[in-house]
Structure formats: C-alpha cells, structure tokens
Amino acid sequence: MAEPVALPRQRPPGRPRPRSGRLAAYRALLGAQARSQAAYRTSFVVDLVGNVGATVFDVVTVLVIFGVTRELGGFTLRETLVMVGLSTAAFATADLLVGNIERLPRYVRTGLFDAVLVRPLGALPQLLLMDLPLRKVSRALFGLAVLVVAVGSAGIDWTPGRVALVLLAPLAGVVFFGSVFVATATVSFYWTESGELANSVTYGGRDFTSYPVTVFDGWFRAVFAYGMGFAFVSYQPALALLGRADPLGLPAWAGWAAPAVALVAAALAATAWRVGVRHYRSTGS
C-alpha cells in the first residue's frame, strides 16, 4: 500500500508540489482542526481545564512527597522543582505538538493510515495536523509557568551561559520527548495490538525526568537515564543551572549536552519512522 500508483492523482508522481501549495494545504488542515474543536465551546473549555488538571496533579504529587521527606535522592524541594519544571514544560509542549501520534495504532488497525499515505503530503505532518489537540495548550502553558516559578525561586547564580541553557534545555526537551513519541508510535507498524506499551516510555519518561536520577538505581537507571537519554532532559541541565556537581560522576558539561542528545534522538526517531512506514502493511479493507 506504500506505492498506490493506480490511484488518480492531481499531479504526476515524482514531481513535488510547490512549497507554497503544500504549506497552504497544511494550514487548511490546521484551520479545519481548530474550527472543529472550537465548535463545541463547552466541551472545549472542559477539555482545557481537564488537561491542565492532570499536569497540576503531577506537580502536586511532588509537593506531597516532599511533605513527607525533606530531601529526595540528595536534592531539596527547590532543586527538584527545577527538574519538574524542565520535564513538565518539555513534555507538555511535545505532547501538544506531537503527542497525538500515539493514536497511530488506531489508524493502523482501522486502515485509516492508507488514506493518509495516498494523499500528496507527508504522512507524519498530516497525522500531527489531523488532530492537533489544541486543548493541550493549557497544559503546555502551565508547564511553562512551573518552569518559570521553579527557576525563579531556586536561587540560581545567573551567568550568560546559564541564561542560554535555561532557554535551550526546554527546547531540547521538547525535541527529545517529540522524538520519543514518534519512535514509540512506530512500534504499532510491527505490532498493531501494542496498545499502551508506548506509554511506558513516553509517560514513563515524563515520570522519570520529574525526579533526580539519583532516586533510581541499578540497570533500570542505566537504561532510562543513559541508554534512552532521559537524564539529559531535566537532571543534567538542572545540575548545570544549579551549579551542583553530579553525585553520579558525569562532568559538569553534561548539562550542555542536552541539545546534542535531542538531535540524536530526533535523527533516530526519523529513521525509525521511515523504516516503519516502509514496513507498513495495510490491515485491508
């Protein structure tokens, strides 16, 4: 189904659409989404509130935990909140932009993905725009607010480098979580019934990055923190911002590796996506 040559097309295959035309098509998709989601006002407001609620509770959980203990893995509440802020802001924004890719299993199962492939637009951008969840805007804004408050109250000794890092690290986190969303979704090309398996890495990664890496231990820490690279989303940048040495022994520049790690993740996710789409077999009519 990857090469639907028999289907009539507006323009001959091989010749790409003019760039402006493609952008207009994407804009039309996005506009249609925005209108359809805003059509039911009450539902939309309910969704906005509900979505922010879930993220609020994640932060409240950290606060409750610090109500029982004074420090977690050797870090105080203020220090941990910097990690929570970085993690929440990055995850919520990535979830807004790319998170709906987690519906891919349903598209594959129902065969809707066929329709996406025959259109003369990129499959991934279409999927993302087809149901860009505008209701998650509230969540992303809240995540950003947590980050601003956390960074503001952590008593950071500001240098030009740290200012650059506090801007770069969340962006790198968005790219990283976005890559994780895409890469885990490609599992459904091979295993249609994988269900919530992707959650263990996406939402699991969010939970992992909300706490200092020192909390975890053994091979589990090695796999999540360094094997998959989650340590570079919030923990290492937070250490660099706070000017703390890593109790686990990574050098101080590790915090600055966040953008590079994010780019590697993006490249891997892009490869996984391409391979996955090639591997895709339609489930049939």
């Binding site: 009450t42 509900g50 879930a54 420090e71 269900g195 919530e196 589990f220």
Partner: protein, 329 residues
C-alpha cells in the same frame, strides 16, 4: 397532554419494578405468576411510545438468577480474554511504572527506613500490588455504556430481562477475573525479583484482601456506571469523564499512598469519598499497615460505599429510563 402521559409513566413504572424483582429472582412474585400476562413497559419522555416485555418464566428463582449472573460474567471473561496481546503490552507497561514508583517511594523512605507508617518492604508491596490492581479495578477507559447510550444501542439492554446495572456488573466482574490473571500476576511476580517486599504475615489478611479487591471492583464499576450514565442527560460525557479520571487517579492512592497527606485530609477522603476504597484500602489491607480489627473496619467502609453507589446506580438508571429517547428507526 402532559398529565395522562405522566400518569401512564408512573403506572408503568410500578410494573417495571415488579418485573425487575421477578427477573432478578429475588422473590417470585405471585402476581406475575398468576396472570402471566404481557406487561407494559413505558419508555421515552411522555411521547407515548410503549413497549411490551413478556413476563419471564414463572419458575424464576435465586438459583436461576445466579446462573444468569454467572453466565454473563463468564462471557465477560471470554470477551476480554480475546485481547491477549493488549494484556501483554499492558502488563509490561504496569511493570515499568512499578519500577518508577517503587524507586521514588523507596527514596522517600530514605535513610529513615520508612514513611507515613510504611516500612520499605510495605512500600514496595504497595507499589507492585497497586500496579497489578490498577487494571483489575479498572479506573479508566470504560466507555461501553456511554457509547451505547449515544448510539441508542442501550435500547436493546433495556429489553433484556436482566436489570442493566446487574448485567453490566456481571460483565465487569468477568473482565476483572481475566485482568486478575493477565494483569495482576505479572507485576506481583516481577516486583519481588528486584525488591524486598512485605508478604502477609497474618492469615486473616488473605481473605480480607480478596474481599477488599472484590468490593473495590464492584465500587469502581458503580462509579464508572454513574459517570457513563451522565450520557443519558448530557450529549458529551467528556466533562464527567475527565473529572473522574483526575479525581480517581489522585485520590485513590495511585500516585502516592494517601497517608502521605495530613491525617484529617485522609480521613475525610476515606469516609467522605469513594476514592480511597478503590485502591488505597485494598493495598493497606494487603501490606498490614494496621491491626486486623482496623483491616476489618476498612473493608466495612468499602462495603458501605459499594452498597451506596450500587443503589445510586439503580436509582439513576430508573430515572434515566423515564427520559431516554432513542433516536432512529
């Protein structure tokens, strides 16, 4: 025009109640047995649409009721047992979250060796059994009834000789049975391989835990039924759904053990809301945080909530049937 309609509704409504009693076999009503006639069942919103439901066989009794209930539960078990791959994926996900939560709570316990009355082993058991129970109790992702109300398919549920609350409950117990095999066991078996866990030391804990889980499933079903039943009144049930997902995740004890909260808050939650009865209480019973007497008391709280919510389900269903209008032909 309204008053004859209303009269008919209330008249027919009395009949429906007696019909239900016979159908459920709680008491073979002699009235039905004698007449054996066709009972009128009023549905709709005073529009005047009347459907006829044939009175069930006269030999209805408790044994038949149990057999019907068992058959529906069995079919629920088989229905969910067909999704084996999804069960494997779900069990793996629960296990990953087991590691995440367990490490965090052990870090909370830290050097002191405990937190909020739990020691390290109890916290580990709390996390791993909690991840296993999550799918058994099933807080989220059940929209069967709401979907059927929206599409009108619920009409065929109303035509069946079993009360909708009863038949949906039976299906859900069957589902929970399958989840007990496929979703509860994996995390409970994996956890002890990597962490020191607390195993029950007193024999009454085991039957109390089983009872507590059963009550939690029934209560969870009742809450989900109520959330879904808002579809009878609302066109879009996302609002109640979202509120339920938020409240149940936080207040059931999934994110952190509720005793981490101030005592007064926890007590208020326990007696004032059904949420702790869904997960926190079964887990507290399992890890033997309290004496046996307190464990019994906790289960009693669950009994109270389950009974209250199930009664509310039947009330809501009764009210809903009087206003339900199924569109289409």
């Amino acid at each position: 025009m309204a008053s004859p309609g209303a009269r008919l509704a209330s008249l027919a409504h009395g009949d429906v109640t007696s019909l239900e009693i016979v159908a459920l076999g709680a008491q073979p009503a002699g009235k039905v047995a004698r007449s054996g006639t066709v009972w009128l069942r009023k549905e709709g919103n005073g529009v005047g649409s009347v459907t006829a439901t044939v009175a069930p066989a006269t030999e209805s009794n408790v044994i038949l009721w149990f057999r019907t209930f068992g058959a529906i539960a069995g079919s629920g078990f088989r229905r969910y047992a067909t999704y084996r791959q999804a069960a494997v994926a779900g069990a793996v996900t629960n296990t990953v979250f087991g590691f995440l939560r367990c490490y965090v709570l052990l870090a909370v316990a830290g050097a002191a060796g405990g937190a909020a009355g739990y020691d390290r082993e109890q916290l580990a058991t709390f996390v791993w059994a909690g991840q296993g129970l999550l799918a058994v109790v099933l807080l989220w992702g059940w929209t069967d009834l709401a979907d059927r109300i929206r599409t009108g398919e619920v009409a065929s549920d109303l035509l069946r000789p079993v009360h909708p609350v009863t038949s949906y409950l039976a299906t859900d117990l069957g589902r929970a049975g399958w989840a007990g095999v496929s979703r509860l066991l994996p995390p409970v078996l994996v956890g002890p391989l990597f962490f020191d866990v607390h195993l029950p030391a007193r024999w009454p804990t085991v039957p109390l835990f089983v009872t507590s889980v059963l009550l939690a499933v029934v209560l969870s079903f009742g809450c989900r039924f109520l959330v879904n039943a808002t579809a009878y009144w609302l066109e879009d049930v996302r609002g109640p759904q979202i509120l339920w997902v938020l409240a149940s995740g936080m207040l059931a004890g999934l994110y952190f053990p509720l005793p981490f909260l101030p005592d007064a808050v926890y007590l208020a939650l326990q007696f004032g809301t059904p949420f702790p009865s869904l997960l926190q209480i079964p887990l507290d019973v399992l890890v033997e945080r309290d004496s046996t007497a307190t464990q019994v008391g906790l289960v009693a709280v669950q009994v109270g909530w389950a009974a209250a919510v199930l009664a509310l389900c039947r009330l809501v269903q009764r009210r809903a049937e009087r206003r339900l209008v199924v569109q289409g032909g």
